[in-house]
Each structure stands twice: as C-alpha cells, then as structure tokens.
C-alpha cells in the first residue's frame, strides 16, 4: 500500500466522514505540478482543515491533522481528478476549474485491510483459450465434412 513518507510510523485509517473543500484561484496560482504535497488540492485541504500534512495521489488523499496522526485516507471525486488533478499534471493550470469538491471515505471495496486475493476454490485468472481459433477449427472441419 503506497503511502506518503510522512505517514510511515503513523497510524493510517480510512476516513469515515466526507470533507468539502472550496478550491480558489490562489490555490491554483501557488500549486506545483507533480508534487502531491504542493498541488492545488493539497494546498486547498491544508488551508481549509489547517492540516499538518497532506499528500494527494491520483485517486486518494492522505491527510494528517497533527504530527501524531492518524493519517486519514479519502477517495478523490472523479470530477476533481478530471477538472483539477489531470490539468495540473498536464501543465495546464489555466484549465483548472475552481469550485467546491467533496472528498468521500474510500468505498467498501477499496478500504484498508480488505482481502483482495481470490478465494480458495475459485478458478484463478489466466490466459483465456483463443476462441477464434477453436471456431475456425470447427468451420474447417465442417467444410471437410461437406466435401
């Protein structure tokens, strides 16, 4: 599980309540592309929540309100990824859309500690048999049968 360097040695938990942030032009002006702790969303969250440490990945935000933690893990809204994160990463800050965005707790399937391994007894995923060849083989056999 990737986590920001400052979050090592700190408890990491999934958030339970959403937070709403208001991204304004000055957050965009001060942002640094490619830096998860200095991007638009990180600056806005740090300012809004007066957080000690913030780090933004492509789909998750890690927020520590103080030095002792815990670090809270949030899901970024797809609208924010599309309208803010992607534009900053593409060095197009003029396209970033200021506005109100809500960060939600991670959905049940993406929570920490969830077992993502396939369960016993289930067939493991592997390369699928090439159905087109099997189909062509049947066509070929049918042609021979007609002759």
């Amino acid at each position: 599980m990737a986590r920001p360097a400052w979050a090592y040695g700190m408890d990491l938990v999934d958030a339970t309540d959403p937070i709403t942030i208001n991204i304004r032009q000055h957050h965009i002006d001060d942002a640094v592309a490619g830096k998860g702790d200095k991007c638009v969303a990180a600056r806005c969250i740090r300012h809004t929540l007066e957080a000690c440490s913030v780090y933004i990945y492509r789909s998750k935000a890690y927020i520590a309100l103080d030095q002792t933690g815990p670090a809270l893990r949030y899901q970024l809204p797809s609208k924010m990824v599309r309208d803010v994160i992607v534009h900053l990463d593409n060095s197009e800050p003029q396209k970033i859309v200021p506005g109100i965005y809500t960060l939600m707790p991670p959905p049940p399937g993406q929570r920490l500690g969830i077992d993502r391994q396939p369960k016993e007894g289930r067939p493991k995923r592997g390369p699928r048999p090439n159905k087109s060849h099997a189909f062509l083989g049947r066509v070929s056999a049918a042609k021979h049968a007609v002759r």
Binding site: D17, P18, I19, T20, N22, Q75, T102, M104, P107, G109
Partner: protein
C-alpha cells in the same frame, strides 16, 4: 417562492441525488450513502 429560488433548490437536490447514486454504485449501503450525503451537505455550509 420565486422561480429562481425554486430552480436553485431543484438543482441542489439533483446534485445530492447524483452524489447518493454514485455512492451506491461505489458499493456503499443506502444507510451509509444517506449519512455521507447529509454530512457532505452540512460541511458545504461550513465551507467558507
């Protein structure tokens, strides 16, 4: 109530409904989604 105000309320309600539907699609239960939407709505008023 003025028509513009009604439009504003309708638009906000639609946004909340959309948020609720997205949470259900993401795998939250109805109770969880309802709680999250209500907290999000409250925090919206706290946002400066």
């Amino acid at each position: 109530m003025p028509e513009e105000e009604q439009d504003g309320i309708r638009s906000s309600a639609q946004s909340m409904k959309k948020m609720f539907d997205e949470l259900i699609l993401a795998g939250f239960t109805q109770a969880e989604a309802l709680h999250l939407v209500s907290v999000a709505l409250k925090s919206l008023f706290d946002t400066d």
